[in-house]
Amino acid sequence: MAILSKAAAAAASILMMAALQPALAGKGDDTLNVAFGLEVTTLDNYHEPSREGLILARLIYDSLLFKDQKTGEFKPELAKSFRFVDDKTIEFELRPGVKFHDGSTMTADDVVYTLNLVTTKEYNARYQIAVSWIDKAVKVDDHKVRLLMKAPYPLALEMLAGNLPIYPKAYYEKAGPAGMGVKPVGTGPYRLVELTPGTRFVFERFDGYYADSPKGRPAIKKVVVRILPEVNTQYAELTTGQLDWIWRVPPDAARNLSRRSNLEVKSAQIMRFAYINLAPNFNDGKSPLADARVRRALVHAVDRESIKKAFVGEASQVIDSACNPLQFGCSTDVAKYGYDPAKAKQLLTEAGYPNGFSIDLLSAGNPTAQVEAIVANLAKVGVKATMVEQPFAAALSAWREGKYGMFVSNWGSYGVGDVGLSTSQFFSGTPDDKVKDPEVMPLLKEADVSIDRDLRKRNYAKAQARIADQAYWLPLWTFSITTAQNKDLDFSLDPDEFARFYFAKWK
């Protein structure tokens, strides 16, 4: 009896403790609670590989420029103004009095130091594409810096807007990437106040933030970011109000969450798109893929519209070119192959495959249901595709080594709205390019280094027309990201997949 009553008392006290649990999320304590599924390993922007980590980095650090996602306009951020001196030189006048989180003032020395450091080979920046075009940065005076490029680079402004944050020279020399990774110091709208490596990050609005930043002064005081690898745990916490925002919610879960009265579900189109790479030279050109009619038949065979509707997400669009229509230089005036299994069969028969053929379909980073639907569609016209699912790194190596003829995957173009980072990535003779079309390569190479926008547009359009005509690709659909959030939260995702929490506010 005594034991029983003790147990009851213990149980009661547990319930009491639970009742005393503080309200965790939301508007009440002006804290935005966010969850990501993937671990963030470092907050040093130049060493972090994941999108999630780079999103956090942009809360902490500012760059010289800022891109307005609505107008596409480049605005000065840490720079007060900028101008092109010539094709290869940009001059920045720096904003005076900008403070780092450690209280020091940003000067031309910090800018020159950062840009010259991250471009060195020894520094080994994770994404070379952001830094490799820079020759050097030169200090003109305390508030003026010139940036010299190796060659005219049409994406210079894109890279300067977000991908090249400025670090404090004195601190970074002392702390290095290891110190910066856990105790970051930047000029950004939020500063890091607490960190459990890889799992939990607490940010607080930086009171010394410069007033006329295009990022603006954040409306929400605190942002708490946690890594919750299990999506169902994310849904549970969102439902009970312990989280205010999650993303990459699959369509079926989105439907369930949207029924909750305290939640809002949004779908936003993003730069990422899905595709199937076809290698005409696979198996020394002896595979059926060598024949353009076969490749066209494959495109006709896949019912992209239906698969998109069922498995991809509301805001997505089926695409016909090797790029995302949101990007500069993405022409939609290309050959289109609608869903037509009869036509596909006819083309296969003409090419000498009346009974179809068997082939491996390498897959990485796709929801399995989508790929299975594609496989089922192909089977209807007699093409027996076997899905070979591999981790991204393994699949990419295998593709580059020419071990597969078809590779289904997706590409985010670094969130940059320019086909120089999509079409060119796959068709300008890179190791990812298994076509190496002599007509396409020179067009892309010329456009990639030109700053003449009309020439670029023309060349890209020609290249994309040729790619579609030859059906070197089976373009699938653009991605959309579904977010689920607290109904009181006023926040939307931009197409470049960089969630900008400094723009979030309570309704």
């Binding site: 403790m17 390993t41 890889g198 946690r226 299990e230 169902n232 745990t233 991204f392 790194a393 393994a394």
Partner: protein, 304 residues
């Protein structure tokens, strides 16, 4: 006894090294670490650069030899992702995993020993059937599913426990129940069958005939012998909980060693994976050794 322990430790160490070499090769078989390092958006040139920067272009045995050399000097190297020494990362992660492991094995033993004894004492009765049903359910139920059921019950419907994190003891309640319940059936069945066997033995019959009270026979004479195999199994189960708690760690976002291992394998973070494999295998070795020592203490015949 001491010589035996030392010899066992030495051979176990060799085994651990062999395992670590195997895992080194497997990481390469699972995909090119350089490509993983270059990131999802990394170009072939990025991968090439990573290969050179981290010496991944050398033959595997050279790389492994270099790793082994630094480990023998007490240096586990730096994570390729965290920009921190592997030892620092592991220290924090093992704290979480150890807490969860200890809580779970204690919970499992607290559940399985009494249940096993009761089931054996009243073998074939309704209580026995009930206990065995509980065990079968625990064995058959996938841990992630049970974990999610608990989350729905104790966090969503009746919000009394937190779903994720490892800040307070309350964060460990649900993970402990899930992991402990999973380890319970095997321990319970072994206790039960051990007890049944012992209770039928001659010396117990003799003790009964001598009029020693039932409770004393059960706990003092029977349990002590019945529990010997349970000790060995608990050690193995505990090792499994430390190394194999990845599902529970994932659901409850306990960032422990199991979750770190699975994430590191995905990222091909060689130094981290290697250190984890070595730690996990050493834990098994130490635990089996400890179990043998406890058994020797329980059973004087094993001491000689």
């Amino acid at each position: 006894m001491l010589r035996y322990a030392v010899r066992r430790l030495a051979s176990a160490l060799l085994l651990a090294l062999f395992v670590s070499f195997l895992s080194y090769i497997l990481i390469f078989a699972a995909g090119d670490p350089a490509v993983a390092l270059a990131g999802e958006a990394g170009t072939a040139a990025d991968a090439e650069r990573m290969r050179a920067a981290y010496g991944l272009n050398q033959p595997i045995w050279v790389q492994y030899g270099r790793w082994l050399w630094s480990v023998l000097h007490g240096n586990f190297g730096r994570s390729l992702y965290f920009d921190q020494p592997v030892s620092t990362i592991l220290f924090g992660r093992f704290g979480v995993t150890m807490t969860l492991g200890v809580c779970s094995i204690v919970f499992a033993l607290l559940l399985s020993l009494p249940l096993g004894i009761i089931a054996a004492r009243w073998q074939g009765s309704a209580v026995d059937h009930l206990v065995r049903t509980i065990a079968v359910v625990g064995q058959a139920m996938p841990t992630f599913w049970f974990a999610l059921l608990l989350v729905i019950l104790l966090s969503v419907t009746f919000p009394i426990l937190p779903t994720s994190g490892s800040e307070t003891w309350r964060h460990f309640v649900m993970p402990t129940i899930v992991l402990g319940y999973f380890a319970m059936p095997a321990l319970m069945r072994l206790t039960r069958s051990g007890m049944i066997q012992v209770l039928e033995s001659d010396y117990i019959r003799t003790s009964r005939a001598m009029g020693i009270p039932g409770r004393r026979i059960l706990f003092r004479y029977a349990l002590r012998n019945a529990v010997i195999p349970v000790v060995s199994l608990s050690a193995a189960q505990f090792g499994y909980m430390l190394a194999g708690s990845v599902v529970v760690e994932t659901v409850f976002a306990l960032h422990g060693a199991g979750l770190l291992a699975s994430e590191s394998i995905r990222r091909s973070d060689l130094p981290t994976v290697q250190a984890l494999v070595l730690c996990f295998s050493m834990i098994y070795v130490v635990l089996t050794l400890a179990a043998d020592l406890v058994n020797a203490w329980l059973d004087p015949r094993m001491r000689s």
